[in-house]
Amino acid sequence: MLKKTLVALALGGALIGAGQAMAADYAIDKQGQHAFVNFKISHLGYSWLYGTFKDFDGSFSFDAAKPQDSKVNVTLNTTSVDTNHAERDKHIRSGDFLNVSKHPTATFASTSVKSTGEGTADITGDLTLNGVTKPVVIAAKFIGEGKDPWGGYRAGFEGSTKLKLKDFDIQKDLGPASQDVELIISVEGVRK
């Protein structure tokens, strides 16, 4: 009896171990919105202006043991930009910036992931924004993973990258201090 239990435990342990070694697929938690695509850009060099995209979705696959096999895909509705100021949002949607009527979606698709240290990685991928596709590197940090209190399993990351507005054909010149925008992506995924 004791022997049988021990064998079962060992087997179970081996199975769990095998399960963890395989990359799991996660859907970005859009329902509970534990996910944010934020950006910040300098205002005249005097302060940071923060904004967010309210509507986006995506998925990633991740295995803590093999971070280099991770993948991430995000699709974003550019119309959903929100900087807490209607007139500014309208301007950002216009041809001066994001051209949302012509380019209503932005996407990011990873092409390779390179571990850079304990819980950090560089995610290289193609970012399509304002109709321009360019490779970018997101410096990502693993935040945590584990069971949630409602029967699911979650993992979360945060990453950022700096974009030159001109690189993505954004015409408006906001001045020397505001040539770049920092994109900050903070997502939690629920294991599928």
Binding site: T79, K90, R93
Partner: protein, 181 residues
Amino acid sequence: MQWRNSSSHYGLVSIFMHWLVAVVVFGLFGLGYWMVGLDYYSSWRQTAPDLHKSIGLVLFAVMLARVLWRWFSPPPASLPNHGRMTRMASKLGHSFLYLGLFVLMISGYLISTADGRGIPVFGLFEVPASLTSIPDQEDVAGLVHEYLAWALVIFAGIHALAALKHHFIDRDRTLTRMFGR
């Protein structure tokens, strides 16, 4: 000249408000057209839209007063040489000018107040936001404001041409009546 309109002549109040609105509408169109193209570092970048909104809200009050006055003191009767078609066309045209102007002003108000912010009027007082829940409000209201502004100034131009036609071709009192004659 009388303050009130009579059955044959316009009074001072109607005449004054007509020309005031005419000047302000074309002025606001010019100001609006110019301000949306201003560079981010232009010194007018904040003042021009503030002025545009302040003047627009005062115009709204003037237009309300104008409609009330029209009801209190109706405009003079049509000139006897105007046929049925002319009367109908002028009624339709004037209705569009009034209605269009109100929709234009309301759409402008809805852009700036879409996020719940009020609009300061010449820095003296603030007109609060009201409707903020139209989907993509600032964009929809923005399109209405832009296209309607063009439609309205073009139509106001036609309105002016029609007045000139009455003056120089029909040689009637349509235009001179608006100067109190």
